[in-house]
Assembly symmetry: C2
């Protein structure tokens, strides 16, 4: 059965299950910003089991760039704590496969790459707190302009674990000076989505030399009366995985996130079942 939901606008009000179905059957192949409104969206990291313990330790030690929201069983492509019948081999609209530390291919499913020793780790994503900022009246420039959020390498050392380490990547959003404290308090409520900003103001303090030259994404204007505010970014674990030079690892493609059935403002990222209270 092919889903009849194929456009971005069709899918904004759709359930997470329907969005995943449209992605699974190939009806929808675009980015996921705004889809299944209110549901948690996730960064994806899939890696061999023998590296998984160190990677989970790495994420635990760097919870702001790497908030763990779900971990699959070894070799199992489902994530029952994040959603009903998720099949991680097909339910993301675009994947990147890395081999020995280099991008190997960008694909729309990973059924032929999947292996019995792979472990899926889902990590929180900034869409969650951006939605909260917008709901509470704080403008988000790159969304207003239809651009990608600007992302920058910093000089902030990560806490290493095994072969995983390096420096943090951040996103930057200009915030009116009078709303900086409010933006801090709003995003702090979402530890599953990078939490409070890690810095505010002068980019040089965290090793960014020129805000007009982001390392990824698009530059946005910082207007008079606005302050650049920096949040930990989910590109951090992708970079760290790349640098680790694993024989294989798989991530989502930027903007093409896994959509969970969990509400983005739920207390935990664990789906309630009839027998579980969380």
């Amino acid at each position: 059965m092919t889903s009849r939901l194929t456009s971005h606008s069709d899918l904004v009000a759709a359930s997470a299950i329907d969005v995943r179905a449209a992605i699974r059957d190939g009806s929808y192949t675009g980015h996921t910003a705004g889809l299944a409104a209110g549901k948690l969206q996730c960064n994806l990291a899939i890696l061999p089991e023998r590296f998984a313990l160190d990677f989970l330790r790495f994420c635990q030690r760097n919870p702001k760039p790497c908030p763990i929201v779900g971990v699959g069983d070894t070799g199992k492509p489902n994530l029952p704590t994040l959603g009903h019948d998720i099949d991680i081999r097909t339910d993301v609209s675009k994947y990147r496969v890395f081999r020995n530390g280099a991008l190997s291919e960008e694909v729309t499913d990973i059924a032929d790459v999947w292996a019995d020793d792979l472990v899926t780790v889902a990590l929180g994503c900034s869409f969650t707190f951006e939605n909260a900022l917008l709901r509470e009246g704080i403008p988000v420039r790159h969304i207003e302009k239809g651009l990608n959020v600007p992302m920058y390498r910093t000089n902030i050392d990560l806490v290493p674990a095994g072969r995983f380490g390096g420096q943090m990547v951040v996103t930057m959003r200009p915030v009116p000076e009078a709303q900086v404290a409010q933006a801090h308090d709003i995003s702090r409520r979402f530890p599953q989505a990078h939490g409070a900003p890690i810095a505010t103001g002068d980019p040089a303090q965290i090793g960014i030399s020129d805000l007009s030259q982001p390392d990824w994404g698009d530059a946005v204007e910082v207007r008079n009366g606005e302050v650049p505010v920096y949040w930990a970014c989910g590109v951090t674990p992708q970079n760290v995985l790349l640098d680790a030079g694993l024989p294989i690892c798989i991530t989502h493609s930027p903007g093409h996130m896994l959509i969970a059935d969990v509400a983005e403002d739920a207390e935990t990222t664990i789906l309630k079942t009839e027998k579980t209270t969380n």
Copy 2:
């Protein structure tokens, strides 16, 4: 050097480092409730590396009873993200060593039990939110009475991982009916310490037959106008570890927690260093 801080009252206002020093050198062997006021206290689980990935998955899937606040490197007895110079072999005042699913010994250090394949996992503890409840004017009966909190087995299934699974253990605190919502909101701010209550009211709804007969700790009175409120409990992972029948695992003894240098109300449980911003 032997610490001159030896009594519980000496240690309430001491730093976490000084409390750990007094425990390390044997000057202090008691429980840790109230010590190093304002610092995070932790449940402890030490287990062989080959079970650690599944145990971390188990904790991730059950974040309310098992909030992970620190994970050590394999074979390394320190936990640098939780505190300066922690030596987990000596810095807890009493340990329980389990072998093949049975209590083997209760000891004041584990230097001779430590092995190169052991992984330390530190989990959050209810002291954190109890302190917040007290600060905000919500009475905590068992503390008023100098008793242990009452703990109960429930029929709430945990989400399993590998050989780890079972049912949740909860604590119960009677709360004046008018303050139940406030108690919920306060404790929800501490996901690193069991978060919001998992149930309120009738104990039968979660499989508790008689509040006057706790499975661990001491019964406390629920007075007219009060409602029993149930929180996920750190005895849950201890029970789960015991049931898993590992060849060896080590926990703290009840009430004898690891005291971290991290503030109990910090945004993350990762100690800030000069080079890390979290």
